[in-house]
């Protein structure tokens, strides 16, 4: 993974903290991550450490704070080639109001369509993923999201400013755990047909995710 992509991964993780935390620690946390990566620490280890702590920061350290709707959080660092798929480790929030579930997903650029399809299918979301030819810089990136509101909340897109798009690049999709609406996610593909980039199907017709897959449970406000 290249340095800019490592930095992007850490940046995405730091953005999962509450605004209050970010206001105080984000700059320092980013600098600390840079120093640790310079010393040879894995960017994935650093990002996972921040993501786990961010989930705890939002759930555990504010027992009196009202939790927002339970959501599945899909963070798609689609340009982070080299990190196949990362779903954070699971843990139970002792003071969570209900069963909470959240996911943080980092996709590799070369198989983003297949990974997203598998993740959505495994959580029974009615979200269709389609590939669309794009420039090399946007391979694996989420180009657009079209969603209909469901009974249990709406699909929310989190953007960051970037040169590739005036409206900003999509960093994350926040999907309520019991989202019932329909949605379509368009992902950038390379010069090969997008279908060719999908993971091979097994005997049951399910596409296999590439390891490692780590999953995290928790809740996010959005």
């Amino acid at each position: 993974m290249t340095r800019p992509r490592q930095a992007r991964l850490v940046h995405i993780a730091v953005r999962c903290y509450s605004p209050k935390w970010r206001e105080r620690h984000a700059d320092e946390a980013t600098e600390l991550a840079e120093l640790l990566m310079r010393d040879g620490m894995s960017a994935v280890f650093i990002a996972l450490s921040y993501l786990k702590a961010a989930t705890r920061d939002r759930l555990v350290t504010r027992p009196k704070r009202r939790l927002g709707p339970t959501a599945a959080v899909l963070l798609i660092g689609a340009t982070l080639v080299g990190v196949p798929l990362v779903l954070l480790d699971s843990f139970t929030a002792a003071n969570a109001a209900s069963s909470n579930e959240s996911f943080v997903v980092v996709l590799s650029g070369h198989n983003a369509v297949g990974h997203l399809e598998s993740v959505f299918r495994s959580h029974h979301f009615n979200i269709k993923v389609e590939g669309e030819s794009s420039s090399p810089s946007q391979i694996g990136a989420v180009l657009a999201v079209k969603a209909d509101g469901g009974e249990h909340g709406t699909l929310t897109v989190i953007r960051r400013s970037c040169a590739a798009s005036v409206s900003g690049c999509i960093d994350a999709l926040v999907v309520p755990l019991h989202y019932t609406g329909m949605a379509q996610v368009i992902v950038g593909c390379g010069p090969k047909p997008c279908e060719a980039a999908l993971a091979p199907a097994n005997a049951q017709g399910n596409r296999r995710l590439q390891p490692p897959v780590i999953s995290v449970r928790g809740a996010f406000e959005h």
């Binding site: 620690h25 320092e28 600098e31 600390l32 640790l36 620490m41 650093i46 786990k52 702590a53 350290t61």
Partner: protein
């Protein structure tokens, strides 16, 4: 096994439930203020444990909330942290508690001590 009550030492030991990261951080800060990077390096040096940066900030926030550490004015983007007098007292109580457990454990293992 039922626990009927706690001794005076345990009541004073506020770090009992604070977690290992908190103890490592206070131990590191015991010889002077440090910022995050210096803390991680020092902890790795004396404990051989690689603490994650997320764990570090989570523990620092908890310790600050308990009044056991305080943030000093930022140097560039870095906030050095300093152990407070309450933090030093809490660390001393916790180390005393660990020493008692350690002594009993060593004795029962036939390693001497107490």
């Amino acid at each position: 096994m039922a626990v009927a009550g706690r001794g005076r030492g345990d009541e004073r030991d506020v770090l009992r439930r604070a977690g290992d990261a908190s103890v490592l951080i206070l131990t590191s800060l015991a010889d002077g203020p440090k910022h995050g990077y210096a803390l991680l390096l020092d902890i790795k040096e004396f404990s051989r444990l690689q603490m994650g940066p997320g764990t570090l900030y989570g523990a620092l926030d908890r310790l600050e909330g308990l009044g056991l550490v305080e943030a000093l004015p930022a140097e560039d983007r870095r906030h050095p942290y300093r152990i407070t007098s309450a933090g030093a007292m809490a660390l001393r109580d916790h180390l005393d508690s660990l020493e008692r457990v350690s002594a009993v454990g060593r004795l029962r293992l036939g390693l001497g001590g107490v």
